[in-house]
């Protein structure tokens, strides 16, 4: 890794990253803040219960809202945060590799005495640091909001942190294949399109898989099968093994990216 390049890249990504962090943190604070009024609302769970089961699964409320943890996991981690992280990962992975090759500025980075692998590791580090910062700030904001902003409702901090680690690992894997696509592409737009296409496909398969039992098999083809925030926060999943397999697939995907980038022809 090249530290000067890493710092320069972090600086130039700073604005965009700041926007993502601000958006995610502000939103989680907001929904935790309004939780007491929802929890106190009479008949809210009855209303949810009246919905068809598949619908409840889709919006992440299979059992209604029983706790702050359920609510945060279903409403934020299952929906908006997912989309925020998807957008960030797809955009950034394309920016750190394919864009530089497409525009040609990669030539300057490779004209310094750093190997391609070293440059690519630096760029991957920028991508993952950004992801970690978004998840990290969101975790912190969530805990802070539940401690100081509302009273009488507790967020299980340990399992909330576990959920965030798994979220980070899931999106690291997504970042992994997006980075791989970005590393083999000469065209920024193409890389963006393919990454977004695959990720959206996973997302749609995930939605469809939850709709009914007939379509449940579709879940097996989606990376989001591993990512079930409500079960995660209630410790109903095998967090350790999921974490391990996500880490391994992330590692492998980034390794393949480095090897491919090392061996390919660059149109610089």
């Amino acid at each position: 890794m090249s530290l000067p390049l890493y710092l320069a890249m972090m600086k130039s990504h700073g604005k965009m990253l700041g926007g993502f962090i601000y958006g995610a943190s502000a939103y989680i604070v907001l929904i935790i803040w309004i939780y007491p009024s929802i929890a106190d609302m009479q008949g809210f769970n009855d209303m949810i219960g009246a919905l068809p089961e598949s619908m409840r699964k889709l919006i992440g409320m299979e059992n209604g809202i029983n706790s702050l943890s359920d609510y945060v996991a279903g409403e934020f981690y299952g929906m908006l945060f997912l989309i925020i992280l998807m957008v960030y990962v797809i955009l950034t992975s394309t920016r750190v590799m394919a864009r530089l090759v497409d525009q040609g500025s990669m030539a300057y980075l490779l004209a310094t005495p750093h190997s391609r692998v070293k440059i690519a590791i630096t760029q991957a580090a920028v991508l993952l640091t950004g992801l970690a910062l978004i998840v990290g700030f969101t975790t912190f904001s969530g805990i802070a909001a539940s401690e100081w902003l509302i009273e009488g409702y507790q967020l299980d901090v340990a399992s909330f942190i576990a959920l965030n680690i798994l979220t980070f690992l899931t999106f690291s894997s997504i970042a992994g294949y997006c980075f791989l696509i970005s590393s083999i592409s000469n065209d920024e737009k193409k890389a963006l399109g393919i990454s977004a296409g695959i990720t959206l496909l996973f997302y749609i398969l995930n939605m469809a898989g939850k709709l009914s039992e007939k379509t449940e098999w579709m879940l097996n083809f989606s990376i989001f099968k591993w990512y079930d925030p409500i079960k995660m926060i209630n410790n109903e999943t095998d967090a350790f093994w999921i974490g391990c397999s996500l880490s391994i697939s992330t590692f492998l995907l980034f390794m393949i990216s480095l090897i491919v980038f090392k061996k390919r022809n660059l149109p610089l």
Binding site: A8, S12, Y108, L110, H114, N265, L268
Partner: protein, 295 residues
């Protein structure tokens, strides 16, 4: 210092490089000339280790350009043909990033070059004109005092004054025993700085000559206006390649036979003489034609 041996790279539609061989010795300046799309930049991409050859290999300072790309960069300065810098930086920010990446501490040489090219380094890169970017590129290539310089069309975008500054810089580096390979469209620039030159066309090296020989094949057209019809006849009788362009005005094409041309003019009363600049394509066309006729 720079060796290219049997370098081949095939692209679709029959394009690419075909069995390229040349050598640039230490302290030599090598001009690499050819029309657009001939393969100049592709050759340079191989030298920089951006592309892997299908066959053959190239090396700089004894190190293979593909396998040792990173180590070669220690002693190499590179100016890309199409200059794109990282986004969101000023010229100075970009130059100091490169310096830090090279672990270079002194800024003396850099500041000297900035002064020389009169570059306003505080300008953000996205607001820079083509010429300014070219200057930043040139400074980036020269500032770490490399032993080998690879320059892809170095003067494009520079005004004539800055072209002069650049040519002086090249001549100075030549004095310092640097090895330089530069591709160019401008025959003048090559003529003034290079010891030898290679001409490439359709991915094949069609000529590898020293500058003297290349100069002799360069065609120049002079527009000559003489005082009297007498002189006119005199000129028409000579063995030079002459085209009548009007009353007492002719175009004389000179190619290696400068002496004969001067002697002819000395016998006439010349009213006006002017050279007509030839573009490089023209020079190439004639060079290729001549070679094909010889075959």
């Amino acid at each position: 210092m720079i060796h290219v041996k049997g370098l081949s790279k095939h692209f679709s539609k029959g394009k690419g490089l075909f069995d390229l061989n040349f050598e640039v010795k230490k302290g030599e300046v090598f001009g690499y000339i050819g029309p657009n799309g001939a393969g100049k930049s592709t050759t340079i991409r191989h030298l920089m280790g951006f592309m892997k050859p299908d066959r053959g290999h190239s090396s700089i300072n004894g190190m293979d350009c593909w396998n040792n790309a990173a180590r070669i960069q220690d002693q190499t300065g590179y100016l890309p043909g199409e200059i794109v810098f990282l986004e969101g930086m000023s010229g100075l920010g970009f130059l100091s990033l490169l310096q830090k990446m090279r672990k270079q501490e002194t800024t003396k040489r850099r500041d000297e070059l900035i002064e020389r090219f009169q570059l306003d380094v505080k300008t953000p890169i996205r607001k820079m004109s083509k010429g300014m970017k070219q200057k930043v590129g040139i400074i980036a290539a020269f500032m770490h005092d490399p032993q080998v310089l690879i320059l892809d069309e170095p003067t494009s975008g520079l005004d004539p004054l800055m072209q002069r500054v650049f040519i002086d810089l090249i001549l100075e580096e030549k004095q310092n025993n640097k090895t330089i390979l530069m591709s160019s469209h401008s025959f003048q620039e090559i003529e003034r700085t290079c010891d030898s030159a290679g001409i490439i066309k359709d991915g094949k090296l069609v000529a590898l000559e020293d500058m003297y020989l290349l100069r002799s094949v360069q065609r120049r057209v002079f527009e000559v206006k003489v005082k009297s019809e007498n002189d006119m006849e005199h000129i028409l009788r000579s063995s030079l390649d002459i085209e009548v362009k009007g009353a007492r005005t002719v175009h004389v094409t000179v190619q290696g036979n400068d002496q004969e041309f001067v002697q002819l003019l000395s016998r006439c009363e010349v009213q006006h003489i002017d050279t007509r600049p030839q573009d490089l394509e023209d020079i190439f066309m004639h060079y290729y034609d001549r070679r094909e006729v010889e075959k």
